[in-house]
Symmetry: C2
Subunit: 204 residues, 2 copies
């Protein structure tokens, strides 16, 4: 029997393109496409063009590689922030997360990934040279590593540390320990052990 999966080539293409996205399967793609089909033409055009426009016109900050609408992002262009402290992060998602804490007034450096031999990502694929250059210019005092607490994150921290360490800089990393709200009996042993070894002075 020669029955095509979808009754329309246009539908077929739209579902196929949607299903390429991570976490979106064939069924979800069809559901989303049929949803769009019920919307006004203008709305679908707005959606499609928003994506194309973003991809074509978005810029990356020349200083920190964060996503921006201009050659310099808002954070790097903000003179009220502390430009001597650089927080090294994997991607724009971590910049957003840290900004939402409202507790950091330094600037960032977006690596664009972390070293992961399994995924074929080496140091050359990341924005490490520009960090080294920035650090060697003499204005920077502290570099904070804020990468994931995984093997890959630790490897990347260590690589950058080895590469930039000759300069007279303070290196720090995010505190590791018990998360706020965690119940002690459910914490994994490694975290619990480390937070014992690295216990802090009790202050009121």
């Amino acid at each position: 029997m020669n029955i095509k999966q979808y009754p329309s080539k246009l539908l077929d293409t739209a579902v196929f393109e949607f299903a390429k996205l991570p976490g979106i399967g064939q069924k979800t793609a069809l559901r989303l496409v049929l949803h769009l089909l019920k919307k006004d033409k203008e709305e679908v055009e707005k959606f499609g063009n928003a994506l194309i426009d973003m991809r074509n016109n978005i810029q990356f900050c020349n200083i920190c590689h964060n996503i921006a609408d201009a050659p310099i992002c808002e954070i790097c262009g903000d003179n009220t922030r502390d430009h001597t402290t650089i927080c090294v992060v994997e991607s724009v998602k971590e910049v957003l997360a840290i900004e939402n804490t409202h507790l950091y007034r330094g600037v960032y450096h977006v690596l664009g990934g972390i070293i992961s031999p399994m995924q074929g990502i080496g140091p050359a694929d990341l924005n490490i040279d520009s960090l080294e250059k920035k650090a060697s210019e003499g204005n920077v005092k502290e570099i904070i590593f804020a990468l994931s607490a995984t093997m890959e994150g630790d490897t990347t921290n260590f690589y950058i540390f080895r590469k930039i360490n000759k300069l007279n800089l303070v290196f720090s990393t995010l505190a590791r320990g018990v998360s706020v709200g965690d119940e002690l009996e459910y914490i994994d042993e490694v975290t619990l052990g480390r937070s014992l070894v690295n216990r802090m002075e009790f202050k009121m």
Copy 2:
């Protein structure tokens, strides 16, 4: 503090548009948009244009209201199919599901929804008039109701039945009973009770 949620207006718009889709929240939208940002410009353009193109150029079959690339869909245009049997379904999704069984050789009628007072969908919003017209033309012998086994589905079946019943037609509905593979102890009482009352002759 005057910190915008996203560092770029373009990113903001794209995430906002994505998050309008059903089942896609703010976080998923950001993840998908950042995924697209890593793809080639051509790929993102293909994706966006596939959606716009689909919405602008897709057609609905003049006979059965199914999605099509032409004024008459492939099923209605197929002379080897039985045009005297019409299967009434809610949407194109059910057409696909039934076609995938490879057990139906009749044609379809897509209502475009079911009667649902809760969602403000009444008979006038559905393709019922064209079904009545088709049925009254004399070529049709049987109408199969293949709507969801819910209150709304039953209401819609009943409404259509009342409206078209004066014509000399056979009406049928999908068999209701125990699904293939179901274990008896987990079946709800209504289904189990009905499948006892409507028990079938045992054949080998």
